[in-house]
């Protein structure tokens, strides 16, 4: 699933952009050092291939719904982790620019969720050990399926974490996770089957392609330091999430109950990760300001997802009036600019 701009806070967006940027720079350096000039046209073509293949739907038996190839694991198998990551990133970038898929800020999240986990976690840690360089059809299916599931589950978990820590969507962590993870489990299984089918076909007709792809890189001695670093990050993320759960779980549950029942007041101050994230957001966001009159009651201020007090009628109507007027003004500016364009440029 793609993240969307409107559901991310600037802090989360910037963090994921930095993470994706770092992995991109790392992958680019590794590819430059490999000096395999054949990779460059191959990456371009395989990116175009994945883009095109994604537009071809197939029927998923027993459900009647349509599926399509994700391509992350397939690219990792054919190109190796670094080139595959860049290829996936390029496909997502074009989709963001031309199809408004998610948006440009969310691109950082999407590249990480859909690129990092399949290429740098699932492929080296699950596919390669299971399938090896010359897999039998059985091991190919097993490796591709388990790796795809793992990659997609991690990606889905990341989406949930990114969404919840942004604080814009009201979906509680547990609900969202319960929604995303089972769906992506199913998607992962289908993806694995399809990936294995495609690789299996190529393997049958032109085995040297698959063999060359596997042989050209030594996955065994992956730079251990970096691998450990990425594992540490993953562990930290998980720990953070769990600790958040642990520290504010009663609050979280209680507050969800309050929401459902419609009561406004919140007992208990915002503590734990939540408040810390809020303060982080305060410091790093463009300018933190929720624009609602904050009553003297300070206990509301610390909780970014707390109930804002009921706004006075006057203020809200003023807001509506002002918004309508501003919109009209903006449209007028637009029309004026349009009218000012020289005739010759029209159309």
């Amino acid at each position: 699933m793609h993240m969307a701009d409107a559901l991310i806070s600037p802090a989360v967006g910037a963090t994921m952009w930095a993470a994706s940027g770092a992995v991109t720079a790392y992958s680019a350096r590794r590819i430059n050092r490999q000096m395999d000039d054949r990779k460059i046209p191959l990456m371009g073509i395989l990116g175009a291939f994945v883009f095109s293949a994604q537009m071809i739907n197939f029927a998923i038996p027993l459900t009647g719904s349509s599926g399509h190839l994700g391509g992350g694991m397939l690219l990792a198998i054919l190109l190796g982790p670094h080139a595959a990551f860049l290829t996936i990133a390029s496909v997502l970038t074009i989709q963001a620019l031309f199809f408004a898929d998610g948006g440009l800020l969310a691109l950082g999240c999407n590249v990480f969720n859909l690129g990092f986990f399949p290429c740098f976690v699932a492929y080296p840690l699950i596919y390669r050990p299971l399938a090896g360089r010359r897999p039998t059809p059985g091991r190919l299916l097993l490796g591709a399926t388990v790796a795809s599931v793992a990659g997609l589950q991690l990606g889905a978990l990341a989406v949930v974490i990114e969404t919840v820590s942004s604080g814009i969507s009201e979906l509680p962590f547990k609900t969202f996770a319960l929604l995303m993870l089972p769906i992506h489990l199913a998607i992962g299984i289908v993806e694995g089957i399809v990936t294995a089918a495609v690789v299996g076909y190529v393997w049958k007709i032109r085995p040297e392609i698959v063999e060359a792809a596997g042989a050209s890189r030594r996955v065994g001695p992956l730079p251990m330091a970096r691998l450990l670093a990425s594992l540490a990050v993953a562990a930290a993320l998980t720990a953070g999430v769990l600790s958040w759960f642990a520290s504010s779980s009663p609050d979280g549950l209680e507050w969800a109950m309050i929401r459902a029942s419609g009561r406004e007041e919140l007992s208990g101050p915002g503590q734990g990760i939540h408040a810390r994230l809020e303060r982080l957001q305060q410091r790093t966001a463009f300018l933190p300001d929720y624009d609602f009159p904050k009553p003297a009651a300070e206990e509301f201020a610390a909780d970014s997802e707390g109930a804002a007090p009921v706004v006075q009628v006057g203020t809200s109507v003023a807001g509506l009036v002002g918004a309508a007027l501003t919109l009209a003004l903006a449209l007028a500016i637009g029309l004026a600019l349009r009218a000012m364009r020289p005739r010759a440029l029209a159309g």
């Binding site: 701009d5 009201e170 495609v198 002002g322």
Partner: protein, 270 residues
């Protein structure tokens, strides 16, 4: 027309739009790219219950479309297509956030609905910024901008090659799909079992093509490094472009003009 062909037309169409001339064309692509990103960050930095304060930012897409002569319906159709996915997640907000936030007469509007509306508005703004960027700048210009902004050269080249061969491969895929469909009683969707060989065939052809492209590159002296001497000059007008827009974004963020305006209007009423 199949899904692929429609998508191809979309991409071609958007990029073709960027070939027209307008004052916006002369602005450095870096300036346009950076401004678009600043716009998105500004929009997203508003609070989750904010609606009115966002409205002044509408000037950015409107002004760009107007100066460039970009038909708004093209931008809107793209954005509206992408909206349902965000709306799906955002639609949970009214479910979980039921506390009344605004009271107009007897009507209680919960915070959930307000934040949902805010999400939709933000999506409209940020997604249109992306589409407008491509329609006014063109894909290869954006790539040059990225290159000059220190994005790794390998990645920029990858974007350009992907874009270049997208059409070739998608058309090939469309032809293959049409041929298959004609032999399969007009079905448009492959059964799961047929997808492996289908995609496998396309993949093999693609890899052969990659080999030929590689040979063509080598034949003209390619040694692994893509060189470019596209010179981009950042001029005063480009700096003014960026600074002026960013100033507007900051001002809109700091000062809720619509509300002030509305309050002034309300006060002046008898």
């Amino acid at each position: 027309m199949s899904h692929i062909e429609t998508a191809l037309l979309d991409i071609r169409g958007l990029d073709a739009l960027s070939v027209r001339d307008s004052p916006l064309r002369r602005i450095d692509p870096r300036a346009k790219t950076l401004t678009a990103l600043a716009f998105i960050v500004a929009v997203v930095s508003f609070g989750k219950y904010e609606i009115a304060g966002l409205i002044p930012l509408v000037v950015y897409p409107i002004a760009l479309m107007a100066v460039d002569g970009l038909p708004p319906r093209i931008v809107l159709s793209k954005v509206l297509l992408a909206l349902p996915f965000v709306a799906l997640i955002g639609a949970f907000n009214p479910v979980f956030d039921r506390a009344a936030m605004v009271r107009i007469g007897p009507l209680d509007i919960s915070g959930g609905w307000i934040s949902f509306a805010s999400i939709l508005l933000k999506s409209l703004l940020t997604l249109s910024a992306a589409v407008i960027l491509i329609a006014t700048t063109g894909f290869s210009a954006v790539c040059v901008a990225l290159d000059r902004l220190r994005v790794p050269r390998v990645f920029v080249v990858q974007l350009l090659l992907l874009y270049r061969y997208l059409f070739v491969l998608a058309e090939e895929a469309a032809r293959m799909l049409r041929a298959w469909s004609l032999r399969s009683a007009g079905r448009r969707r492959l059964p799961l079992g047929a997808f492996g060989p289908f995609a496998g065939q396309l993949l093999l052809r693609s890899m052969d093509r990659a080999d030929r492209i590689h040979a063509a590159m080598l034949s003209r002296g390619f040694d692994g490094r893509m060189r470019t001497d596209r010179v981009l000059r950042f001029r005063a007008v480009d700096a003014v472009f960026v600074l002026a827009w960013v100033a507007l974004f900051v001002a809109a963020r700091l000062y809720n003009a619509p509300r002030a305006l509305g309050e002034a209007v309300m006060r002046s009423l008898p």
